[in-house]
Every structure is written in C-alpha cells, then in structure tokens.
Symmetry: C2
Subunit: 244 residues, 2 copies
C-alpha cells in the first residue's frame, strides 16, 4: 500500500508484524540489502509492531523488489500492509468466512473480548463470551468438569480444551477460543510459573491447545496473551477458504 | 498524602477525580482562593482525571486548609488522594466489605472486566462475568427474557435490570453489575441515539438502573461507560459499612 508521508519526495510502506520480538525481527531483516535512498524502521506499541519502509521518491522503482523480499522473509508474520489493528484483520477474516466467534477468558479477564469489540461492526461475527475468573465460573458458564480442575488445575491443556469446547457448544458459535494462565504476580509455581498460558481453539475440524510462556509484568502478560490468541486465530482462519 | 516532586522546595498532593468533566471541575475550583506559592493543575488521561496541588515548601503550612477546601468542594468526586486507579479503589472497597462482584457487559464488550482484573489480587473479589454481545447471549448466560428484549429492546431499563439480576443470581456473587448501550457508530435511533447507555446494579438491598448519555466516538463511549459504572459501584459501596 503506497502512502505518501510528510513532503512529496518520500514514499513509505507499512507492514504490521505479529509473532516476533523486536530482536527477532531485526535479525530476519538483516539479510536485506538496503540500497541508497531506502530505509527500514521498526516502531512498537506493545504488543503491536510496525515495520516501515521509506524510499526517496526518485528511487521508488526499487520498492517492488524490496517489498517482495520483506514478504518472503516475514511470511505470515505480516498481518497487514496498512495501519490496521490485529483485531480488525481477524474480524475481516471471520466476516469473509461467515464464521462466528465466542470467547472464554480466564487470565486475560475480558481483554481479548474488549479488543474484538472495539472494532465497529464486530457484532456481525462476535457472539460474546464468558470471563471465567474463578473455577466456579468455568464450571457454571463453560461446563468444565470439577474433576478436570482438580486433577490438572485451571491452567492446563485439559481445562483450556474444555473451555473452548464448552463456550463453542453452549453458544453455537463456529469458533470457541479460550485462554487460561497465570498473569501473576502471585499464583505461580515451579511447574507453572507466572507467565504460563494455555490457549485453545475449538472449531468444526477439531480442537487444539498450545502452551505459551510470556515474560514481563501482569499487564504485559495480559497484552501478550491477547496478541498470541488473536494471531493464532488469524493464522487458523487463513488456512480456511473464504465463503464464496 | 504528601509527595515530594522534582527538587526539594516543592510539595504536591494528588486528588483523583471522577464524575466531573474538566470544565465542570474548573468551575468548582474557581472559588478557591489560591495564595502566593500555591498552584492547582488538572491533567487527564481520558476518562481519568488528576488534580494536583503544588505548594512551595516554605508555605507548606497553607496546604491543610487548601486540601480541606478541595475535599469540601469536590466531596465524593475525589476517589483517591494518591495515584491510584478507580478499579483499585473499587477492589479495596469490595475486599473491606467482603463482597464479591460479577459483571454482565454488552456495549463495553469486556472492558470493565479487563479493568477489574488488571488489578493484581482481583480474584479475591471478582467472580467473573459474561460478555453478552448478542441478544442470544443475554438470554443464554443471564436469562434475560426474549419478551423483554422484544418489547423494550436490548438497550433499556428492563433489560439492564434483568442482566444484573441474572448474573448475580446465576453466579451467587454479592453484586451484579450490568451495562447495555449503543456504542456506535451504527445502531442508534432517534429514541436511543449513539451514546445511550443503561447501567444497573443488583445487590441484597435491591436493584436499580440508570440511564446515561455519553458523547464521542465508539472508544470514548466504551471508556466513559466503564468509568461511570465503576464510579457508581464505588459510591454504592461507600454507603455500605465495611465488615468488622
């Protein structure tokens, strides 16, 4: 997407990035041969990251090749080539596939739901969800078995799967997304330290749960979890064909 | 709360403010007679507002009287005299009263739940809640009657009351708080324009719903709604005695 910035002699292109840390992104980009008159800069507003390619207007012929290189290197880590939010992209993918979403959040406490719903028009694909901050809520709203919570704990593959299955079955949404983790500062253990998070996606084709570990303080863990969950959902949707 | 800022010759006191716009706050404060060496400044990070009283160290004797004036003029609009968030103050009030909270959010989409849970230790008083973004979700999770939704609409006193009652009864929490409104940009009507919000609190002593109207864009309406809901909850808790 061609965007003209301050003045008329410079053009810039934006790539929104997901699933990489800033150092990882820097390493990946280091192989790019930046010719005179071109510049790559990274800016981040945690957990969101923006890569900007700036090119002198006179050299604009160079950008097609450079942009192709960036796309080839970063692949699906690029979630947009314009200044959009991850939750907007996810919403567009859901709309195009005519799918609906329901959420079951524990450690993120409603933050993913907030991100989904701050996008205007999200009621077209978002059913709603449950913030199951207590074990009782997990059982009441999602039907998570007391036995599962006792045997495996609230932060476990088994609980995450029952949460995503539960919200999907109860609401009838196409996709059930769940998160359960230890946001801290307390509640961690040797086996499940602060920052341990299970995310699960349930859909027609089956269900899956993945374990993550995020660093930082409570707020950062919540933000990182929301980003990882939305990014996994995006990648999962990309593998499905849009409705005709 | 005495706080020393940059350098040693100045002291400053912080008052966190709720339920007033910046112009309203300015008018209320205009009656205060600020003597030489004292200064009042307002800073805001929407929807939060901070009033700061700065006094030359040599004149610190003046502050007790000034602070008393500020308290008398602003009354319960001051929710903290330190740099705290409204959701922290609400959490402390719930803890002191040994009460639990459950939320039923529509237009705020989980944002109030996020604010409650970004406070460390909130699991001690927060049960969880439902984000009932669709009418079906209001019925499924909260037991709101289809008849109520059809007759009065999702944004109505009746629906707000059934939402707060429903979340309270189903979870067994001491307090059920609900919000339902039109965050826009679409969905408004002549009778219920964008920005119309109903908030309801249900507790042992009964239930109540209030209508609000907030200006601004979608994001601002969500933020303002969360602030109004938490502030009403705070004032309601202040009227109840702390547990002995």
């Amino acid at each position: 997407m061609n965007r003209f910035a301050r003045g008329e002699r410079v053009s810039s292109w934006v790539f929104k990035i997901c699933g990489l840390s800033e150092p990882e992104l820097g390493i990946l980009l280091s192989s790019i041969d930046l010719k005179h008159g071109t510049k790559l800069s990274i800016s981040s507003r945690f957990p969101d990251m923006t890569l900007r390619l700036t090119v002198d207007e006179d050299d604009s012929g160079k950008t097609a090749d450079l942009r192709a290189q960036i796309r080839a290197i970063l692949g699906s880590h690029v979630y947009a080539e314009s200044d959009r939010m991850l939750e907007e992209v996810v919403g567009e993918l859901l709309l195009a596939r005519q799918l609906t979403l329901a959420l079951a959040e524990s450690c993120t406490g409603g933050y993913i739901s907030h991100r989904i719903t701050r996008v205007a028009g999200s009621s077209a694909y978002y059913y709603g969800g449950a913030v199951t901050y207590s074990n009782e809520a997990k059982t009441l709203f999602l039907g998570v078995k007391t036995e599962t919570l006792e045997r495996h704990g609230a932060v476990s593959r088994e609980t995450a799967l029952e949460m995503s299955d539960g919200i999907r079955e109860r609401t009838g949404a196409s996709i059930g997304l769940s998160v359960t983790g230890v946001a801290g500062p307390s509640g961690g253990s040797a086996e499940k330290p602060v920052g341990t998070v299970w995310i699960s996606i349930a859909q027609d084709s089956g269900h899956e749960a993945r374990r993550f570990h995020f660093g930082g303080e409570r707020e950062q863990i919540i933000l990182s979890t929301s980003q990882a969950a939305l990014d996994w959902l995006r990648l999962s949707l990309l593998q499905q064909n849009a409705a005709v």
